[in-house]
């Protein structure tokens, strides 16, 4: 079912669109260390795509390649069919790609609302002075963007902490605020770096629910990396499995689950 050029139908009946981003023979080295070795895969419009693998498999490096933060030595990344040049992070953001981080990277001293509003920056056009004095278009623009931010706050059920400084929040909520900020950018492609790391079962269930409804409500394409197999299998449409920088599996959760290489990587066999 994957060979159709224009996408496929998922098990739960969602139509997945054409390829949005394609990794072609990516190799990434840090000095002598090869973090990623000749990996190719694609991400299609509207799908939840997971990259999984044991610790040190190169998942985060892969996500950084997707986000444009790392430039691979070999191979190329095609975004909407066009080879992507080297870009600054803000340029990536303007392309419609947003991300969250494994180690939460929020503005700790600012309120939740302000943090979410920073996610709207790429959508604001007025200059610094206009915004500082809140004149003319700046006022209207802030109102419009606040509305989007509030819808996301409502969506992620964080109304009660809207005005709480982020530093006072527990870990699980910070993760959710980070997701809110990424979502506020109204991205076409959302990259989640270990969204469930360090969470308890209940928090994981909440996060899974949010990820699925984001995909459902906003049609956001989601690429996530995660090492909790169980969660990923329930959540994703297709899974790439990495181990020691290599791709050892790619396919639907069922296909991946029965892949001997994947089982070995997770249960552990000797690598010589």
């Amino acid at each position: 079912m994957l060979d159709q050029a224009d996408g496929y139908l998922t098990a739960d009946g969602r139509q997945i669109g054409p390829v949005v981003m394609e990794m072609q023979n990516i190799t990434l080295r840090f000095g002598g260390v090869e973090a990623i070795k000749d990996i190719s895969f694609d991400i299609r419009e509207g799908e939840v795509r997971a990259i999984i693998g044991p610790n040190g498999a190169g998942k985060s490096s892969m996500l950084n390649v997707i986000s444009g933060f790392y430039v691979p030595q070999e191979g190329q990344v095609l975004y909407k069919g066009v080879p992507r040049p080297q870009m600054r992070p803000y340029q990536v953001a303007r392309q419609g790609i947003a991300r969250t981080f494994q180690n939460i990277a929020l503005f700790e001293g600012m309120s939740v609302l302000d943090n979410v509003m920073t996610g709207r920056l790429t959508h604001m056009k007025t200059g610094m002075f206009a915004q500082a004095f809140w004149k003319g278009r700046a006022e209207k623009e802030e109102t419009e963007n606040r509305e989007v931010a509030e819808k996301i706050i409502d969506f992620l059920e964080i109304q009660a902490i809207r005005k709480t400084p982020v530093s006072r929040l527990p870990y699980g909520l910070k993760k959710r605020v980070e997701l809110a900020r990424a979502l506020a950018a109204e991205p076409e492609l959302l990259l989640l770096d270990e969204p469930m790391a360090g969470m308890n079962v209940e928090e994981k269930e909440d996060m899974s629910r949010f990820i699925l409804s984001m995909n459902d409500e906003f049609g956001t394409t989601i690429a996530l990396i995660e090492h909790d197999m169980g969660v990923v299998m329930d959540l994703s449409d297709r899974v790439v499995v990495m181990d020691y920088g290599k791709k050892i599996g790619d396919g639907t959760p069922d296909e991946v689950r029965n892949n001997q290489a994947v089982i070995d990587a997770y249960l552990g066999v000797s690598h010589d």
Binding site: D154, Q159, S213, D216, E217
Partner: protein, 656 residues
């Protein structure tokens, strides 16, 4: 149509009142809800339009007169409108508890045979879909919040706004039918059906007529001088009779504004922003708030703490007298006003009570310290006594006659009598029509002359005419020695300690009394933090030896106080256990209104009760728990049983 609306004579139904308000207070706010960070508001005129659109939409869906429409969800204007719209088309709204598990909902929906459901969100829709196979009469569901529901099968599912749009589009053809149905309603038509929380057995459907609701709303509004400009915060379950009377009955009668919080979590913030003038909360809410204030004060700087303690001392001495209009010396008045400026005012503002003119608490006894704390701040907190079958009001405390140990004098139009066994009976215009499909229970509760048994034992105080409630009549028993046993009396005393959240006292037909105790996680957790006591779970904290010792000292204090009372001195707690889990409505141990269900607890924890009486010092037990999503699990624990010192009663010793 206008001619049926003029004058009080025409105001015999909810739709009639709504139309009157739309004409009389058209541009005044009727409902507000905080959404997307902003208070959205609807005037009475807009409300009327919204309700009519929905009512027309319901007609379009084929709602018949006399159909039951279940309404499930958190407090939102749209759901209040749903109830009014149902009434406009001659259907009977049945609000259900939103946190009820699917099986509980299956019983109530099956019992009333609801044809239609109006659900707040995906969670409620899912629950109804889960149980729909067992419901023969269920036909279609309307949902409010579309999130997550886009891909659901929409053959029997419609969005709220779509129903309204359909209603608006067909206004011309459907309006005459709607008007005809409104015109048919009289004072004795059914207004609403509410399920009792069911302390014992299955919930019963209490049918209330327009007369019940409107008469009660009218007299209670007059009793407390409620005004059109008042504001209330609607945050208590919509299925509870009180919320129906406050947010629909009284709101429609006086035309005041009902404010709905953004979500359950933001209630405290929203309370502060709205600053209601008329406020109701069960004692538990006031207790929690006071506990929070005290915990926060412990974190304050030394100078602030001293200031707080000094002015709270003054408030305790003169605050209640000032509130009751009793004479207070000039110096005290000056000090109190200074305190208002420095402490009470800011504190009331933080709590959201700055504007409260009338505040009520009911449902359980409130601790005198807690009650006095709020009154000393100048908040006119009062107690009332009521039940679903009375359309809330039986007795209430008039301004100036407020005490923590009574529930007030009879409300206008209510008659009271005390039977020989001490049970309280009442008769009023608010007395319910019947229990739906349960003539037997109706006959047991309401006699031919309209007197209703409350099930509570109490007495009317000589001189003041205030009613005092001792306990549920059926819970009052005798100990093995024949002395009076009133568990609630002891439980209330125990619960007045901030560390104790809930307790169940046993002792009927037993030689001595024993107790189950639930600690209050906020208060005890804070104490643990201060004393560097690490704990990983509720269970671990509840079993900590220091916690047990603290609770033991509380129990012993209560014993000393109970011993003072000649009649009840045998109710002292000899042995107690701190439970490893919180009693929970999801496990059936409490009702949805958080009242203890004794029989069920006795059955479920029979092994622990046996251990309390067989002299053992600890008991290993496994308890089944139900999670919020209905899944079940089990927790096991070894609980320590403690002995508490009891006070020998002097009079008795002398006699023996």
């Amino acid at each position: 149509m206008a001619d049926t609306l003029n004058g009080a004579a025409g105001l015999v139904s909810v739709p009639a009142l709504l139309h009157r308000n739309a004409m009389k207070f058209g541009s005044a706010p009727a409902y507000r809800e905080k959404e997307f960070g902003i208070w959205q508001s609807w005037t009475w005129e807009q409300t009327c339009e919204e309700v009519e659109a929905l009512a027309l939409g319901l007609l379009d869906m084929g709602v018949n007169e006399g159909d039951f429409i279940a309404v499930i969800g958190r407090n939102r204007p749209y759901l209040y409108w749903s109830m009014m719209a149902a009434q406009m088309v001659g259907a009977i709204p049945v609000p259900l508890y939103q946190d009820a598990a699917a099986e509980e909902m299956a019983y109530t929906m099956g019992h009333c045979g609801a044809r239609f459901v109006i659900a707040g969100d995906q969670e409620q829709v899912d629950k109804v879909l889960d149980i729909q196979d067992g419901l023969d009469t269920f036909e279609a569901m309307i949902y409010l919040d579309p999130r997550g529901l886009r891909k659901y099968d929409h053959t029997h599912l419609t969005q709220y706004s779509a129903v309204q749009d359909a209603g608006r589009a067909k206004r011309a053809t459907l309006e005459p039918e709607m008007k005809a149905r409104i015109a048919k309603q009289n004072y004795d038509s059914i207004c609403v059906m509410l399920y009792t929380s069911g302390t014992t057995g299955k919930p019963k459907g209490v049918v209330l007529s327009n007369r019940n609701v409107i008469e009660t709303s009218k007299s209670s509004s007059e009793f407390d001088d409620l005004r059109q400009s008042d504001d209330i915060l609607a945050y208590l379950p919509m299925a509870w009779v009180g919320d129906f009377i406050f947010s629909v009955g009284q709101a429609l009668w006086t035309g005041f504004c009902t404010n709905c919080p953004e979500s359950a979590d933001t209630m405290q913030l929203d309370l502060r922003e709205i600053g209601p003038t008329y406020y109701f909360a069960p004692p538990r809410v006031f207790e929690t708030q006071l506990t929070n204030v005290m915990i926060r004060m412990e974190d304050a700087s030394k100078s602030k703490r001293r200031l707080f303690d000094y002015f709270m001392g003054i408030a305790r001495n003169v605050g209640p007298s000032i509130l009751d209009g009793k004479p207070v010396s000039l110096l005290d008045r000056i000090k109190y006003n200074l305190g208002e400026l420095m402490i009470y005012g800011p504190l009331k503002n933080t709590l959201g009570f700055s504007r409260v003119r009338v505040g009520y608490t009911a449902g359980e006894a409130i601790g005198p310290e807690i009650f006095d704390f709020y009154r000393s701040l100048g908040i006119n907190l009062k107690q009332l006594y009521g039940q679903t079958e009375a359309t809330v009001f039986i007795t209430a405390q008039p301004d100036g006659e407020v005490r923590s140990d009574t529930v007030g004098v009879t409300c206008p139009g209510v008659e009271l009598k005390i039977e020989d066994n001490g049970e309280v009976y009442y008769r009023s215009p608010g007395v319910f029509v019947e229990y739906y499909k349960n003539a037997e229970s109706t006959a047991d509760t309401k006699d031919a002359e309209g007197w209703v048994a409350t099930g509570d034992a109490g007495f009317i105080e000589e001189g003041t005419g205030h009613l005092r409630i001792i306990d549920r009549a059926k819970d009052v028993g005798k100990t093995a020695s024949g002395a009076l046993f009133a568990p609630k009396y002891v439980e209330n005393k125990l619960k007045f300690f901030p560390n104790i959240l809930e307790t169940v006292v046993f002792g009927n037909d037993r030689a001595q009394c024993t107790a189950f105790i639930n600690i209050d996680l906020t208060a005890v957790g804070n104490w643990a933090e201060r004393n560097n006591i690490a704990y990983a779970s509720y269970q671990e904290l509840a079993g900590h030896p220091d916690v047990l010792s603290t609770i033991q000292s509380h129990v012993e204090e209560v014993n000393a106080s109970v011993a003072q009372d000649e009649m009840l001195s045998d109710c002292q707690v000899h042995r107690f256990v701190v439970l490893h889990k919180q009693l929970d409505a999801d496990d059936g141990e409490l009702t949805r209104t958080l009242k203890v269900r004794r029989r069920i607890i006795e059955e479920k924890f029979s092994d622990i009760i046996d251990a309390l009486y067989d002299g053992s010092t600890e008991i290993s037990t496994t308890t089944e728990v139900t999670y919020e999503d209905g899944r079940k699990g089990a927790i096991s624990a070894t609980l320590e049983i403690r002995e508490a010192a009891v006070v020998a009663v002097a009079a008795k010793l002398a006699a023996e």
